[in-house]
Symmetry: D2
Subunit: 347 residues, 4 copies
């Protein structure tokens, strides 16, 4: 490892969609080098057997193992629960951890218990965990060794709403209507993820309350703590595609606020951001396919005070593994775009 | 024709998706018989050449012609504008007309001009036109010879909202967020309808105002004229599937109204309706594929006053040709389900 | 049941895709009435809970039960192995059985053992079983009480090849290249059937030998027993769609045989068949979606002796439940098209 | 341009799928710099307006213009016909040209005229044109300034067949059965490329003879000129996905040749090739999505002499723009993998 001069990185849960996404990015990263890949399945096989798209890269030759031994940074792409246990262990060993699961996204363990149905597995780590949305918490990420990678839906929603919310331009009642590709359901075979159940059909789910809802509300409140809390109604929908999240937010312009104010707020917040692009037409998720980009658009219908803000991301990139690498770059004082400069695959 | 004892029916614009949908249904209808099929393209060919799925039916043997001569009822599946011209002619000839285009959906020609960008082509016919949403205007349809078949989005939205709106259970501000399959864009080749532009991607469109918005508002107002007018924000989205519209409506419960009130209102409105089913779980558009059914679900998230109402239809059936045949049944005093009793194609 | 004057029918395995397909057809059949529906899952629930697309039909009100009690005919839509056990029991009870599984497709139990990896579960029933491809074994189906519904791939391949093979127009070496929608994999959740593994990708499978290969060879031989046996190479491919099988067969014209001879053979074989249509252009599987139709086309490339024969079916209709009902019609001396006359759902 | 030390490159036809693919790759290439982008549409707009996925790259800021002025190398991504005219002009100006169209793939202008229906537009250039399949014509590409980028289907077929054909392991009669994503039809809106015509359906096309057939035959013959010519039957199929070609080839093993011989031939031909991977299981096109890889697998069914060889590529990468850049690397003596080392986007 020393010879490359790169930072050694492990991916735990490498055969899932987020793990595979992290492998794809890190396999080509100028500053990190994948040194260990862990999965419950296919241990002892070359990574390229599990993920043939890596066949041409050096990373594809790595052997999938049961646990890590000496990587400096760990990308945790396992379900919540086990993630916290592993994070505890790895932090105790001094490694940096980026947890793509939900285990460290709430500051308050009671809120975790309420939404995830059991006591937090490692509450002692919560004080050091930072919510890894770089555009809003860059300074904190810079200093931590435990980053909680945001949920895919909250990433799309908060990036769209935060500048406008912080500018006090909209009222508390907000609707977040999201469409996600099926990879958001994870790779485990379920009836819900069966091709035939999802193709040629769309549906809403978790209509009675999705775990990403408090994450959205809590983060907006954290961004503008002095305001009264936002009240979000969030309904996610499954659409027949692999990747992508389109988030359509509806809010009411406050007092004399205008569409121009909203656009200004977005412009000011994101002008210098490498991964956020404001658009003049409604974005398509396909524009972000395979890249770490977030496209944001806003509009008001004639005669209306209702502000419509739409964002498009790739749920496995800016909504997952891409953002995880962006966070790692920040944690290691690297250029924030290192290893993430590639253009998405369109069409 | 006489020998069959059936009512002679013509389909104008038979090679489009709505025209093809009407042909499919009428080819098997116990009371109507397709006697003439008209299209600008493929004149002189057998219908089954244009629509091979009809190859096994007698209707497939009909020759596509330039205009109709002697059908009693005409299903107009052509674009707005030409539709009104044809409707004028056919009405003058004494035929019944069901217009699947938008030309007769507004009662007020000024509103038509505002949204469709030109003077109404046949304002003299507007007084006799009836908005063909049977669940709400059955009596009027019964008496007319010119039915304006509703838009696909308004059908899904009004069926979801009307009982609750009429019950005065929600406030004026309503959000209608719809997802449509690509057949809603029509069959003309456009970049927007190109497979590669739509597959593996979703997007919102017409965010600045869609023509179906005033149709939704106007119809709700017509249903409960004494209330102050609803103010709808409507955003349609394109999703990569052929058929289906999922409509997610967001409204605020008024005063002491509850979810139970909303469910009761839906139950009372639709208990006797053959084509509306209330569901206990969020509906999938796939459930309605190929049938005239509309599935409706409603919910409130814990601690919220926001009512969420979701409907699922097939845009080419209840949102188009299926509803057109339902209207024809009513116009001819036939059982309303005649020719529409078939189960949808799932999966 | 008596009051309807219909033949009582049970569907065992009703929540799978073939079972659901049978329910859809039989729910509207003029001569059969679904009286019992059986499934391992959801027992005690109404059928419409499991299959919401049936919500509007009387069949949707049936309660899913553990076993059947008094139906005259049983449609078996369960995996091979259990299917034979159930068939034994139901036959002993005097019921007619249509087995959609593979258990009774081979006449020779050794061949079954070779391809299915275990002794045949009910060899004593094999003599009474008839291979249910009506276009070729109508007389035998007419007389049996145990019909083995053909495999989906063999249906497409044999319908394409049989007339030409019987006419001795092609040599023994035949290639059958098939494309199937994912419903062919069944409804059990597997990684192979996961949406994300199949969407935006195609692959061949079972390249080293698929169980449907001997079914194709054996049936062709049965149709023309005096010829030397055909030698088929069969490679199925998974394509990202729900329904449909496209089969492209490649064979070499024998001696002086011509494309015209092949077309004549097809024409003579199928001119009177209600469910087979010969086409002048390559068929699309979408033409057959939801119907019992089989479209067949053949061609020779300029300067070549290679005959290309292409068939398109819906794997859940002519390749499954639709053909099962066609067989039931024959077994009960009903019009062969009874309950199957509906037009497919296009687009 | 000088300051970057990079080779200036123009893309003509940049708004098509191949042009966009070239832009994506070259935007990140270490040795080429896009300096000019040309398209008939959207002239005067920034490239990122036409192709929003490029929004984050410097290339996105380029203005689309009417013609090129000073680029050293030109990637021609326009239809055949116009391509030859432009190639003539650019070659006369001394620029290197990589033509992604079909205009320079045949050495013989008569063959071009036979398959493309008109005289070759620039026969005088044919002697200097080289067929740009690097794995087989690397030396020639190295020396030319006019590379004819291979067709997408021929790339998949020839890579699969060439080693085995050259090894004289198979007989002349070969079947090439290909499945392509819809981007292969180009970006022009046509009914054939309409989403609704292609989704949930598959079909064969050009069954009577596709222009890529002589390209396959001619290239195999060029690779092993002493053998009698191969006789290929080629049938392409459209499948509902954006990208990817799966090619299933069927050939008969000659004399005593074995599967092991075929595998050896593939191994020897491609062991050192950076973009070809031999697999132990049938490849999925998704493995190659967005990368320049070609996966090849071969098998023989038990008791058969029929060799099955399957290749999977991305039609817009190894089957198009990716291979074009690979060729450019060779023409400019760069490392052949320069700018092409990225891993594909899976899933």
């Amino acid at each position: 490892m020393i010879s490359t001069g790169k930072i050694s990185a492990a991916i735990v849960g490498v055969t899932g969609y987020e793990g595979a996404g992290a492998a794809r990015i890190l396999a080509q990263h100028p500053n990190f080098q994948i040194t260990e890949v862990v999965s419950r399945s296919l241990q002892g096989s070359a990574l390229s057997s599990a993920l043939p798209s890596l066949a041409s890269s050096d990373a594809g030759k790595l052997i999938i193992c049961e646990d890590i031994q000496d990587s400096e940074i760990v990308f945790l792409a396992v379900p919540h629960g086990p993630a916290a246990d592993l994070a505890s262990r790895y932090r105790a060993q001094g490694r940096s951890v980026i947890d793509i699961s939900a285990d460290f996204r709430f500051r308050n363990p009671q809120e975790y218990e309420r939404w995830y149905g059991r006591p937090h597995p490692a509450p002692e780590l919560l004080p050091q965990a930072v919510y890894g949305l770089p555009e809003w918490f860059r300074q904190e990420i810079h200093k931590t060794k435990l980053t909680a990678n945001p949920g895919c839906f909250p990433t799309g929603a908060i990036l769209a709403l935060a500048p406008i919310w912080r500018g006090h331009l909209i009222e508390e009642d907000i609707i977040v209507n999201s469409l996600t590709g099926i990879s958001g359901a994870g790779r485990s075979p379920t009836l819900r993820a069966h091709f035939v159940e999802d193709a040629e059909s769309v549906t809403a789910y978790a209509v009675n309350g999705h775990r990403h809802l408090p994450e959205m509300e809590g983060t907006l409140q954290q961004i503008a703590p002095k305001y009264s809390a936002p009240k979000i109604t969030f309904v996610p929908h499954l659409v027949p595609m692999n990747r992508g999240i389109l988030t359509t937010c509806y809010a009411t312009l406050r007092d004399s606020a205008t569409l121009a104010d909203a656009k200004n707020a977005l412009q000011q917040a994101y002008a210098a951001e490498p991964f956020v692009v404001l658009t003049d037409t409604p974005p398509e998720t396909g524009w972000a396919r395979g890249s770490n980009m977030c496209f944001i658009y806003c509009a008001v219908q004639p005669g209306s005070r209702r502000l419509i803000i739409i964002s498009a991301i790739d749920n496995l990139m800016k909504g997952g593994a891409g953002q995880a690498v962006q966070n790692a770059n920040i944690m290691y004082q690297l250029p924030e775009t290192a290893g993430l400069e590639f253009v998405g695959v369109w069409p």
